[in-house]
């Protein structure tokens, strides 16, 4: 958990203080930094780090860009009757894989 926080803090700092200075550059939706945050929140910290790293490498003119949601592998044990705010929608893909989409976009 601490590791995840440590990873998330600099990304948030970047989003607030450095990103505005550089203008809009990212070729993807969600942006590389947002992708990293979603990954960190939904996946294991190491996986999140490497996936975000390769996402940044992909983010240049040689790739098409566009919509690219994080895809994670997860075993889900359904629980019913819990009243909870929905943070992420996990859209099922094949083999326990899910597409991650943030429910309500707020910062």
């Amino acid at each position: 958990m601490i590791l995840k926080k440590l990873l998330k803090k600099p990304v948030r700092f970047y989003q607030y203080f450095i990103s505005p200075m550089l203008g809009q550059n990212c070729r993807y939706y969600p942006t590389c930094s947002e992708y990293a945050v979603w990954e960190i929140e939904c996946d294991n910290a190491f996986k999140a780090f490497f996936k975000s790293f390769f996402r940044i490498l992909r983010c240049n003119q040689l790739f098409r860009g566009g919509i690219d949601y994080p895809v994670i592998k997860k075993n889900i044990n359904p629980k019913f009757g819990i009243k909870k705010k929905i943070v992420y929608w996990l859209v099922p893909k094949e083999n326990n894989k899910f597409i991650v989409i943030k429910a309500k976009y707020e910062k």
Binding site: R27, R58, N60, I67
Partner: protein, 507 residues
């Protein structure tokens, strides 16, 4: 009204953070430096009384008489009666200071070429019986010159045959009449440019090209075999021994845990030495292995590669400032294929203009949705005007590398460019930081951006101002790099915008 108070708050925040930096510098950094200077002085005082290594240090060792003076165009070296280099003063104009000459031989012991014997009796005699020399005044007129120092220690005859070169290199041959274990020192590291910001200490390079960098304060007693370079260094200067034939080095910490190097031998020894600024060219001329003596702290590998590129440019254009500008141009040229692809996709984009308008109107109030639908549109039509994150990320190591090489390269110290007299220190007239702020402002105005919230937008608007203040104290060369980069970005953006406009008119 609300807007106004937010504005005020941001101005206050900026002012407070600025005051914080000044206060931090005044109350924390400066006393630290003063304290460090004080401990160095105290250290020197205690040094004279403390027992060190295998010898007692008495006054006669510290205040020894000068035996030989070596004069060259670039330096003046003194050899004292115990056969050690007791002072090494740089004569070039660049190193002239108003109050004091730059003496590369530290006040601390050992001095370069100092011999200490393992045999206690022999050792105490070595610091009582003075050497004799066959020459007392050696003048180098662009040629190397040799002189011989001899010491007779009750039957053990110690001979040092020293050849000085005009560039600060010297060859030394130690000859003993009887075999005995002794330690020869390249000298305590120069103490001219020592600060908290930069790395200083000792370095050993082994025959298999591996490096062992021992920072001041981290030293532990140990012996390294198979060494070819043994150097003590501060930010800009070094004193070192080199030999193609591997030798054994002993690292012996002083009472501050700073590494002190000794070469361990028991018979004749042949070494090449160098005292002077860490000029990459001079070091390479002696032997390419010595280039590694120039350390740039964390990221040395990258900073060195960048320095060699910058040095190459400098040799073409003569001026370091122009070389930095050229470096920016080269970096942008390397990234140009990417930029060009972006420009091509711009042409495709104009066909999408009506659709884009539609989306923009539809999601006016939700920038996230707007961005998402724009991306979808781009992907459908195979056009994406944005440059991407990678080209930006690639700039970071280059920027860091330039910062490092400006910090450590003696070549760039005192390098002038237009009104700036030293690219490695801050711009005294603050022209460059202001130019950077202005160029940043215009760059911001030209690049389209969307914000997720109002706070972000406010910060964005004040960033050029904040950066102007922040960069004011940074090395001028770094600010020059950034300013040039901004200006080139503006030119590029302006060009793209014009192409877009021309296409629109045609339509």
């Amino acid at each position: 009204m609300k807007n106004n108070s937010q504005m005020k708050r941001i101005i206050i925040a900026t002012v407070i953070s600025f005051i914080f930096f000044i206060a931090y510098d005044y109350f924390v950094l400066q006393p630290k430096q003063k304290a460090a200077a004080k401990t160095v002085m105290e250290q020197n005082k205690t040094m004279q009384t403390v027992k060190k290594e295998k010898t007692k240090i008495n006054k006669s060792i510290l205040n020894s008489k000068t035996l030989v003076i070596v004069r060259a165009k670039d330096f003046e070296a003194k050899i004292d009666e115990f056969g050690r280099i007791s002072s090494f003063i740089l004569k070039q104009k660049k190193f002239e200071k108003k109050d004091k000459d730059i003496n590369l031989v530290s006040d601390k012991l050992p001095k370069p070429l100092e011999i200490r014997f393992n045999n206690q009796k022999l050792n105490s005699e070595a610091f009582k019986i003075p050497y004799s020399a066959n020459k007392t005044d050696v003048v180098l007129n662009g040629n190397k010159k040799t002189f011989i120092l001899t010491q007779n220690l009750n039957g053990e005859i110690v001979k040092k045959i020293i050849t000085f070169y005009p560039n600060g290199r010297y060859d030394v041959k130690v000859e003993l009449s009887k075999k005995t274990k002794y330690f020869l020192s390249p000298g305590y590291r120069p103490s001219v440019a020592v600060d908290h910001l930069t790395v200083h200490g000792s370095l050993i390079e082994k025959a298999d090209d591996t490096l062992d960098v021992i920072k001041d304060g981290d030293a532990e007693q140990k012996t390294v075999k198979n060494a070819i370079v043994a150097a003590g260094f501060d930010r800009y200067y070094t004193t070192l021994f080199f030999s193609k034939k591997p030798f054994e080095v002993m690292i012996s910490p002083d009472n501050e845990q700073n590494p002190v190097l000794y070469i361990v031998a028991n018979s004749n020894l042949n070494l090449t030495g160098y005292i002077g600024p860490k000029y990459v060219d001079t070091l390479r001329a002696i032997n390419p292995a010595l280039v590694d003596v120039v350390q740039y702290g964390v990221g040395t590998f990258f900073a060195r590669k960048l320095f060699l590129l910058l040095d190459f440019l400098h040799k073409i254009v003569i001026n370091w400032g122009v070389a930095i500008i050229l470096l920016v141009v080269i970096v942008r040229l390397i990234l140009f294929p990417l930029t060009y692809k972006g420009m091509v996709s711009m042409y495709k984009l104009k066909e999408l203009a009506p659709k884009m308008k539609e989306i923009q109107l539809k999601y006016k109030k939700d920038p996230q949705k707007l961005q998402m639908h724009m991306m979808k549109l781009y992907k459908e039509h195979g056009a994406n005007p944005l440059g991407g994150c990678l080209p930006l990320v690639l700039q970071i190591p280059i920027f860091y590398g330039i910062y490092k090489l400006l910090l450590y390269s003696i070549e760039l110290k005192g390098a002038s460019f237009l009104w700036i007299h030293d690219l490695s220190s801050m711009d005294p007239y603050f022209i460059l930081p202001v130019l950077m702020g202005v160029s940043m402002y215009f760059h911001q105005r030209l690049t389209p951006s969307n914000f997720q919230d109002k706070m972000q937008e406010k910060i964005f608007k004040f960033l050029p101002l904040i950066f102007t203040f922040m960069m004011a104290t940074f090395p001028a060369g770094l600010v020059l790099y950034w300013t040039t980069n901004n200006i080139l970005s503006i030119a590029q953006q302006w060009f793209i915008n014009r192409v877009m406009a021309a296409k629109k008119v045609k339509k």
